[in-house]
């Protein structure tokens, strides 16, 4: 299809996939907190995905197959090519050099973003506590990566099939209440999970970041599709974010805008299911 070779593709669970892609200009500059835009083929959409790790000239992405593009990506194999990969986009995470204690919370596919962040915080000399959660054991990803990086790691599953039973907010609350000094918290996951979980740190006045995922097009600040309201102001998540102060985010605004294309997403998937034999489309 294009110029960006998939050097390794594999399923992490039934619905979550990992891919290493050869994209030198992205890999060489990527920092924790940044994302890339993937445009699989000429007819495809430009979708933002967090850069979850880098190695030399390759980047790793991890995604859940939820819609047209991610389901297409899930069918691609090692050696296949993507038409376009652009990035790194967005501002890097606000990691301080020194001896801060930070907590990194990942939920669902949001866990994909945590290893690169944990590693960056660790490399900067911070004490890193990880909390990763999933609905059940099968959906849990990157536990090994996180275990290798973090000074402390807590694992939760909603159904108790592994680790601590309950949401990731449980261990977070315990840590906040323990009286330990906590300097910063990152929470990355589905919108509702970030909204609810960030309420845990609010009473303690702990600086908390979330990574927002509004619908994007260009990812470079030229369309305003990704606009979010933070602290009462309009911000473009692709250039001003995607990480923002959790306690300032207008969650209603974000989640309403995320649902803007629900009916089109459904229509697109139905169309793809009928025409799946041919994705030999508009390719240059």
């Amino acid at each position: 299809m294009g110029n960006y070779t998939i050097v390794q593709a594999r399923a992490l669970s039934e619905a979550v996939f990992e891919m290493w892609i050869h994209a030198p200009q992205v890999a060489r500059h990527a920092k924790a907190g940044q994302f890339c835009i993937i445009h699989a083929d000429g007819a495809g959409e430009r979708v933002p995905l967090t850069i979850s790790a880098t190695k030399g000239d390759d980047i790793r992405i991890a995604f859940m197959a939820v819609g047209t593009t991610t389901k297409l990506l899930a069918t691609l194999k090692t050696g296949d090519e993507l038409r376009d990969v652009a990035g790194p986009l967005g501002m890097p995470s606000d990691i301080a050099e020194g001896s801060e204690t930070v907590i990194i919370v990942g939920g669902g596919v949001g866990v994909a973003c945590t290893p690169i962040l944990a590693q960056a915080a660790k490399d900067a000399g911070n004490y890193v506590i990880g909390i990763i959660g999933a609905r059940n054991r099968d959906l849990l990803i990157f536990e090994d990566d996180m275990r290798a990086i973090c000074d402390e790691l807590y694992v939760t599953t909603d159904d108790g099939s592994y680790g601590i039973k309950g949401f990731a907010s449980g261990p977070l609350k315990d840590l906040c209440e323990s009286g330990r000094k906590i300097d910063k918290v990152w929470i990355i996951g589905p919108g509702m999970m970030m909204k609810v979980t960030s309420e845990v740190t609010r009473p303690f006045g702990i600086k908390t970041y979330v990574s927002l995922n509004p619908v994007m097009v260009d990812g470079t600040g030229m369309c305003g599709s990704c606009r979010v309201t933070v602290g009462g102001e309009m911000k473009f998540a692709c250039v001003d974010g995607p990480e923002f102060d959790a306690h300032e985010v207008d969650w209603n605004d974000l989640m309403t805008r995320q649902r803007m294309y629900l009916s089109e997403e459904k229509q697109s998937m139905e169309y793809r299911e009928e025409h799946h034999e041919c994705r030999c489309r508009k390719v240059e």
Partner: protein, 446 residues
């Protein structure tokens, strides 16, 4: 000649089919070859207009193109999109009593002939070994790169999107600027040896340090940051910047959804806010996607900055003009747009710039139904790279400050096009870029 309005609103094919050979030659013969041609002074890049018109009258079409190309690299583009009525045609002496010469049509006519025949590639000067980075592949970046390549330099263009062309690709719709023409022109630039690296966002995929390692840098990053009105309801699903709406359709092919994966909302009723080319393009795209379209503009029709042809075409295609009207809120129901609340404006006397002042009429608020609202109220320079160059002096409106050579406040960094002039025109973008290229060449040779 324009295609029939009823037919053309059903597709994205070019509206204006141009002149036939006979029409072009006859039009060229109308030119009285003024001794002191006003038209040249009206052209931002000073094309020798009477000379090329003369060549057309003599049916020496290649000569005509060669004359134009001395000053304008993209005649097929400019013939189609320049605001001729405020430039060359606006001052043509024949316009005083009669109709001015259709200079834009003639320009486009000869450029189209050359393209169909296959233009010969101009020779480049011997290689200088100097490497130059051009940021952005819009008209400014392309013009600067072509000029520098012709002068023997090795040029790399970095473009953040997956297609080169800037606004010509993602902004101006195909029915006005056919994409095969844009692609052809981009290929001509590549044939000069210019390398275009798409998916390369300077400031992100290319660091500032890497950028400054080139012998010279040209910033042609345009004015792509959309402004929003700052009124209530703006974040409702169904509210777009014109840039987003047009990018979804022109670049991502959303008019062919679900064949293409990118969707766009149009609904039954669309309100477009603004009175420039961008607003007209958004309105006409929405018409083609089957919506009833109302264009709201705060001043009078005569004040609209859009090209006259665009205003006329939009009207012919059934866009309803609601002038002297300003939106004050976007109304919503069930998390979707349901309408626009607007206020009537009282127009005052024209000011120094010839445009009317205006102020809201108290108690004149009213609401219009709408499913989608598209804001086309202006754009500023994209801040992504500029933020990483804090030493770069900026003008009050945020654009990059340059001198007459295109030099910025940073050594060996030049700028041109919309990023330096503020949102302007294709021809100005190319004109300023070419001046910068000449200055870069001169500097590198001393």
């Amino acid at each position: 000649m324009d295609r029939d309005a009823d037919l053309r609103v059903t597709d994205f094919k070019e509206v204006d089919l141009g002149l036939s050979r006979e029409e072009a030659v006859a039009e060229a013969k109308r030119c009285i070859q003024c001794k002191k041609p006003k038209c040249i002074s009206g052209c931002p890049v000073g094309i020798d207009i009477p000379a090329f018109i003369r060549a057309i009258a003599d049916e020496k079409f290649q000569d005509a193109v060669d004359i134009i190309k001395k000053d304008n690299m993209l005649p097929a583009v400019c013939g189609r999109v320049c605001p001729q009525e405020t430039q060359c045609q606006g001052v043509c002496v024949l316009g005083i009593k009669d109709t001015p010469i259709a200079i834009g049509q003639l320009e486009r006519f000869v450029a189209d002939i050359e393209r169909k025949k296959g233009a010969k590639c101009p020779k480049c000067a011997p290689a200088t070994g100097k490497k130059i980075a051009v940021v952005g592949s819009g008209p400014a970046g392309l013009a600067c790169a072509a000029e520098l390549a012709r002068r023997g330099h090795s040029v790399t263009i970095f473009e953040s999107l997956h297609e080169a062309g800037g606004v010509l690709m993602y902004g101006i719709p195909a029915f006005r600027m056919p994409k095969d023409i844009v692609q052809y022109e981009i290929n001509q630039v590549k044939k000069l040896g210019v390398e275009i690296k798409t998916n390369h966002i300077v400031g992100r995929s290319v660091s500032v340090q890497e950028l400054l390692s080139y012998s010279a840098v040209f910033l042609g990053t345009g004015a792509g940051l959309p402004y929003f009105m700052g009124i209530q309801g703006e974040n409702l699903p169904g509210v777009y910047s014109a840039n987003e709406f047009l990018t979804r359709v022109n670049l991502m092919g959303a008019n062919k959804f679900p064949e293409n994966d990118t969707p766009v909302k149009v609904g039954k009723k669309v309100v477009v806010v603004g009175g420039g080319n961008v607003a007209m393009d958004a309105a006409r795209v929405a018409r083609r996607m089957g919506a009833e379209v109302t264009l709201m503009y705060r001043r009078g029709e005569a004040d609209m900055p859009a090209r006259l042809d665009e205003v006329r075409h939009a009207k012919e295609e059934g866009v309803f003009f609601m002038t002297a009207t300003n939106p004050i809120a976007i109304l919503g129901e069930n998390n979707a747009v349901s309408g626009v609340k607007a206020v009537k404006m009282e127009l005052g006397t024209p000011g120094d710039d010839g445009r009317c002042s205006f102020y809201p009429v108290e108690g004149s608020e009213f609401a219009v139904e709408a499913d989608v609202v598209i804001e086309a109220i202006g754009q500023g320079p994209n801040p992504l790279l500029l933020r990483m160059l804090p030493e770069l002096t900026r003008n009050r409106n945020g654009s990059v400050a340059v001198n007459c050579l295109g030099e910025t406040s940073i050594e060996k960094v030049y700028a041109g096009g919309d990023v330096a002039t503020g949102a302007a025109t294709v021809i100005l973008a190319m004109g300023t870029a070419k001046e910068a290229a000449v200055a870069i060449d001169k500097k590198l040779r001393t």
